[in-house]
Symmetry: D2
Amino acid sequence: MQAVRFVAPAGAFTRTVQIRFSHCDPAGIVYFPHYFNMCNGLIEDWYTEELDVNYADLILHDQHGFPFVHVETDFKIPSRMGEKLDLTLLIEKIGRSSLTLVIVGHKDGVERLRARTVTAMMSLASKRSVALPETLRRAFEAYAARTA
Amino acid sequence: MQAVRFVAPAGAFTRTVQIRFSHCDPAGIVYFPHYFNMCNGLIEDWYTEELDVNYADLILHDQHGFPFVHVETDFKIPSRMGEKLDLTLLIEKIGRSSLTLVIVGHKDGVERLRARTVTAMMSLASKRSVALPETLRRAFEAYAARTA
Amino acid sequence: MQAVRFVAPAGAFTRTVQIRFSHCDPAGIVYFPHYFNMCNGLIEDWYTEELDVNYADLILHDQHGFPFVHVETDFKIPSRMGEKLDLTLLIEKIGRSSLTLVIVGHKDGVERLRARTVTAMMSLASKRSVALPETLRRAFEAYAARTA
Amino acid sequence: MQAVRFVAPAGAFTRTVQIRFSHCDPAGIVYFPHYFNMCNGLIEDWYTEELDVNYADLILHDQHGFPFVHVETDFKIPSRMGEKLDLTLLIEKIGRSSLTLVIVGHKDGVERLRARTVTAMMSLASKRSVALPETLRRAFEAYAARTA
């Protein structure tokens, strides 16, 4: 497979994950479900650190859930214990209650994995989808604009 | 979202997973990366119990790996602690070294999730993809034929 | 280390766990936190199948929690992908709100691990420990008596 | 239960862990096996960042394993999504091939959990325990001395 270059847009939210012993399988590479944990952690940190929205409060206080309704991922290059993997979050689409993100895992400018995730905002009480609150929508739009 | 009926083809490999406390998140539903663990376990059992191919030997003895190169999943209906989820495995495509599976999670005849996974057979020594061994290819073809 | 024989008492609750690819680390053996997942699953099944107490209902309906307050484990012999590990649950002590269990992992009559766990029953509402309900206490005492 | 104060000795290795959605169970608190993952990550970082010993190389290059042979833990105060938990590593005993660590989880000067772990150094080739290499032993002794 040919290497695909990746350069994060200026201002894009990127965090580095240490690949650990606990992530790796008997073949010595990351066991793929762990990548989804890393993506979920990245999304949490993005809310809290980039959008200045407390993710824990959204769930525990506002009683909103963000279930994943769709995930698709290309795993291009495996990662190994001791490596550091950069994860960059980009917005692809802002729906009424849904948010489509693209998360790129990369190292030294080369893509290792590319995930597209769709989450839908729901009320934990009614268990129904709800429209994105206006403050959240504006924060998403501003991030999408400045990383376009 | 409208419920989608699912009836497994006769002869299809189905296993039932107990949804446990450890699978569930603060919203009380399965945290989605656990579904991929369940899918991986289903594939293991399918090799060993349905195809009569020892999965552990394929890896530990034959030194083959089966990394996931692509995964896409629709999560339609959440599952909760104490429920039993049926998982059915179907073959979509048999490539030179790759295998495309569809795994449907269902309960009481209604789809809860649908995953498509592509794995590629590789040599752990050379770290390159290798053609599917003829015995494995025949086992895949026979399963695909009898569950079409 | 010398092998320690283990014979489960008649009537003791034993379940067999398939050691999977997902349990194993780059050294090819079970990564130890997975054993605690297995123990937790065993305890769930013991409530539901042996004591005829629906574990999910205890938590979701009765709003009881069973946090672990103490765990200690000797890991004696590692387990590998493809093996089947037997787990046997025994009661060591029944307290006012706490329950001390011993869980022995064994294969072919030889101990592989031995865990002692202490859980305390609490109310999820008050977040305080509560006395074991009388029906639960009687079920524990009967199990302890018949496996002594 | 009475709160236990904890003040890390000067020079002790402490890292802060963000408690995430993925760590928490339907009762909203950390599901206990995740704490062992956190401890394992702390130990990795301690080797690499404090002792200047590349942990990944010890395993992948030198073919040493560090299986846990004993773990015991008191879980005193639960932790919740959004909290930051400090983990401090101390040495209790340096054996011929074994190392006994104490890991204290604390927040705002109060202990939340206290784990004692015993790992034994082994050769992945011979699958037998081996004496700690002299450089490693000296690094352990120096750390124990400066955090006593």
